[in-house]
């Protein structure tokens, strides 16, 4: 099972590097998410079927390894893809370095405009996810949003995080 999974993982990455990354559709968040989510769901279903067909501790352990590695691979890939796509802090760092080289004050105005776009997009995104209810100009949390926010706030308290913005 592990050898077949290793081959699949290599093929999935190679297909992206050789073909998919050159396609315009793969610049969209939804497409890249589905590129990982759909095969991951298939892998999980195949692992469950294998455990049901050959029930043993060894099969279960291999299935857990496969699903775990798939999770690590997909989560790492999507995080790196997303971080390098947005690159807000990255762009600010580049502006500081460009300013140092030219001897001018770094021009951060493009990032302020980018920040406005991010904020507007996020409110719409939160509304689509059913976490925020937008009635006219008033925004408030939905019951689902309240549960999610309570969990996030608890995590923030747990690790003593202080948010800046």
């Amino acid at each position: 099972m592990l050898a077949v999974f290793g081959f699949y993982l290599g093929a999935h990455l190679t297909l992206y590097l050789v073909l998919c990354r050159h396609l315009a559709a793969f610049q969209r968040e939804r497409v890249i998410f589905l590129y990982h989510a759909l095969p991951a769901a298939c892998v999980a279903a195949l692992c469950a079927a294998a455990v049901l067909d050959w029930p043993s501790v060894d099969t279960l352990a291999q299935a857990v390894i496969v699903v775990g590695i798939q999770g690590i691979y997909s989560l790492s890939f999507l995080e790196l893809w997303s971080l390098s796509q947005i690159g807000y802090s990255l762009g600010i760092l580049m502006a500081f370095e460009a300013g140092r080289q030219s001897g001018d004050t770094p021009d951060l105005r493009p990032f302020e405009a980018m920040g406005e776009q991010k904020k507007a997009g996020r409110i719409e995104g939160l509304t689509r996810l059913g976490l925020v209810n937008a009635e006219g100009q008033t925004l408030q949390l939905t019951p689902l949003g309240k549960i999610g926010t309570a969990a996030l706030r608890a995590l923030g308290w747990w690790i003593n995080l202080r948010r800046t913005v």
């Binding site: 501790v57 352990a61 893809w81 370095e97 140092r100 080289q101 939160l126 995080l161």
Partner: protein
């Protein structure tokens, strides 16, 4: 049975991280978790080596690594995400769009990022990227090229892209 051990080791890592975050000293939340989680992961490896069969020990380590990555993803989201910031603000009660816009005005978003980059040492005391900051930018520029994301202010042409970058970021 092994899964209970993984849960125990993971709980120890999460409690250890909470304690580490309340101690004074250097290091951001990710660095502190990497130290605590790495140390406890080492303990789990030794445990798996001596007490588990190879597939079960391997499964325990993979589950631990995946859970750690998920945990890091979640707490970095809480610390930095604009969406989470909006949700936390709305948890205090309904706000109008203009109030949210005023609270998260664009200049303060940029200021917040600059302060955070100073705090974690990506920007030096002189106000310019430290060597660590330059390395990080170089790494993400490589990733941008791999994923074919546009580089701000640069043409999609590879040669032009390289020449448009600040010299110290070229790789």
């Amino acid at each position: 049975m092994e899964i209970l051990w993984v849960v125990a080791y993971l709980a120890a890592a999460i409690v250890g991280h909470a304690i580490a975050m309340r101690l004074s000293g250097r290091g951001d939340s990710v660095t502190r978790f990497a130290m605590v989680g790495g140390f406890i992961g080492l303990g789990l490896s030794v445990h798996a080596l001596f007490f588990d069969s190879l597939p079960c020990g391997g499964a325990a380590l993979v589950v631990y690594a995946f859970a750690c990555e998920l945990y890091v993803f979640l707490f970095t989201l809480v610390g930095t995400s604009v969406s989470v910031g909006i949700l936390l603000k709305l948890a205090n009660g309904p706000h109008s769009r203009s109030e949210i816009a005023a609270l998260y005005d664009a200049p303060s978003m940029v200021r917040g990022r600059v302060e955070r980059m100073r705090a974690v040492g990506l920007l030096g005391k002189d106000g310019f990227p430290s060597s660590q900051g330059k390395r990080l930018v170089a790494l993400f520029l490589t990733l941008k090229r791999i994923f074919r994301h546009p580089i701000p202010g640069c043409s999609s042409d590879r040669k032009e892209t390289a020449s448009a970058l600040p010299h110290s970021f070229r790789i």
